[in-house]
């Protein structure tokens, strides 16, 4: 046990450095992906086919051509046309574009799943398109898209493990590197634990957002206390 703790205190700073890289890629990539997903999702839902067609092409292109290919393209080809970028922004761009394209499908599907009558009602109330989206459609679609976005977030965090392909020292790199000095069971065990804990944390954060979104729409009771009160009033439970 003492030996384990000793190993842990030796390995901790290395893993911490790796985690910082993984988090930069994961959170940066997620932020870029979200913006792209919303923009492309709205574009591919547009009634104007001059907007919709290019949107669809971009989505299918980035979904279809594999994340690693995109990463290498940005990393090796862009410098040749004079666009020198650090590896971290390259990784964030590749993750953001790839998962943004997947996210666009989630956003589009969720917006399209909002019942037609809701759209019609906004027309009947002569709402403008911005007001309609912001006040009526988006809040309902938001609750629908969160489970899908949650899955994509986990996949994006897993996708950050390609960092070592562009010479970054992320958690996967550190785990693979420390196996020589600290033993494979130890180093990979910590590696697995870090990703699992990180994804569980992010997932439960997304679940909280989902519950809040549902509550705002009146789909879930305010809190557990409120449920109890409601049940007491109704004479059940």
């Amino acid at each position: 046990m003492d030996a384990f703790l000793d190993d842990l205190s030796t390995a901790a700073p290395r893993f911490w450095d790796g985690l910082v890289v993984t988090l930069q890629l994961g959170l940066g990539g997620a932020a870029v992906a979200f913006v792209i997903a919303v923009a492309l999702g709205l574009l591919t839902l547009s009634p104007n086919s001059w907007l919709r067609a290019p949107g669809r092409m971009v989505v299918e292109f980035f979904r279809g051509t594999s994340l690693v290919v995109q990463l290498f393209f940005f990393f090796f080809v862009l410098p040749q046309i004079g666009l020198e970028l650090d590896p971290i922004p390259v990784g964030i761009a590749a993750l953001g574009l790839n998962y943004g394209a997947y996210g666009a499908e989630v956003v589009r599907g969720s917006l399209a799943a909002v019942p037609k009558a809701q759209w019609e009602a906004t027309t009947a109330l002569s709402m403008g398109s911005v007001q309609r989206m912001a006040r009526i459609i988006w809040p309902q679609a938001w609750a629908l898209m969160l489970p899908g976005l949650n899955n994509l977030l986990v996949m994006l965090v897993k996708g950050t493990a390609l960092a070592s392909f562009i010479f970054l020292h992320d958690v996967t790199f550190v785990a693979d590197d420390l196996r020589r000095t600290m033993g494979k069971l130890f180093s990979f065990g910590i590696g697995f634990a870090i990703y699992y804990a990180l994804n569980q944390l992010l997932s439960s954060g997304m679940r909280i957002l989902e519950l809040r979104a549902q509550r705002r729409l009146g789909l879930k009771p305010e809190s557990r206390k409120a449920t109890k009160r409601a049940e007491a009033v109704a004479g059940v439970g």
């Binding site: 594999s66 090796f76 080809v77 040749q80 897993k158 493990a161 392909f165 494979k184 697995f192």
Partner: protein, 216 residues
């Protein structure tokens, strides 16, 4: 960027050969493995005693939430002293990783079967095995096949992670060509187009299949 048809013509055969020998092989073999394993997980999670099912669920959850490159590197580190090939490690890791996703697809398919079907099987005093084989699985598959296909496409696009254990798949071949000639654009653009050309029609096919198989 200066596109050269000479480079494109030189690298294309190398890419296609790596594509056929590794990328496609891994996709097909591991998809079949994942589809079988996924069904096993789905059945075990329903039928096994609660404690066993909870442990298996947790293990599958860990596999699902950790990256493939880390899994490849970990398994490779343990077998590197034996004569297991890197490609075999790849086949197993991809099959197991995606089986955890496919298990979820099967679960959804099994849950979509109405309880009357289970009750009817009981009423006819079918054995458990026969209920699964003759009643549940055929109906569940109908709802599950398009989703399995989509996971296979996702696996296909994840095959370049095999770089982690130096299996010579298509993107490795592209990088090697780029490294030796300093022209990276042709190999990576072609590799991307090959991925797109193979995955987009399959994705459209899955969408069509989904619409055709949808019964309710």
């Amino acid at each position: 960027m200066n596109w050269s048809w000479d480079h494109a013509a030189a690298v294309l055969p190398e890419l296609l050969s790596a594509f056929l020998r590794v990328t496609l092989l891994v996709t097909i073999v591991s998809s079949i493995g994942a589809a079988v394993l996924g069904l096993v997980w789905a059945i075990v999670l329903r039928e096994a005693p609660k404690v066993v099912a909870a442990i298996i669920f947790r293990i599958l959850d860990i596999i699902r939430m950790t990256p493939i490159p880390l899994q490849l590197a970990a398994i490779w580190a343990f077998v590197i002293t034996t004569d297991v090939e890197a490609l075999t490690v790849g086949l197993i890791v991809y099959a197991v990783h995606y089986s955890t996703y496919m298990a979820e697809s099967y679960r959804a398919g099994i849950e979509s079967i109405r309880p009357g079907q289970w009750e009817a099987a009981t009423a006819l005093s079918m054995s458990k095995g026969r209920t699964w084989r003759a009643v549940i699985i055929p109906q569940a598959l109908r709802a599950t096949v398009p989703s399995l296909g989509n996971w296979a496409i996702a696996m296909f696009k994840d095959t370049p992670f095999l770089i982690m254990i130096s299996v010579p798949e298509m993107v490795t071949a592209a990088e090697k060509y780029g490294g030796s000639t300093f022209s990276y654009d042709e190999p990576f653009i072609l590799a991307g187009l090959i991925f797109l050309a193979a995955s987009y029609p399959t994705a459209v096919l899955m969408r069509k299949l989904e619409n055709r198989l949808a019964t309710y």
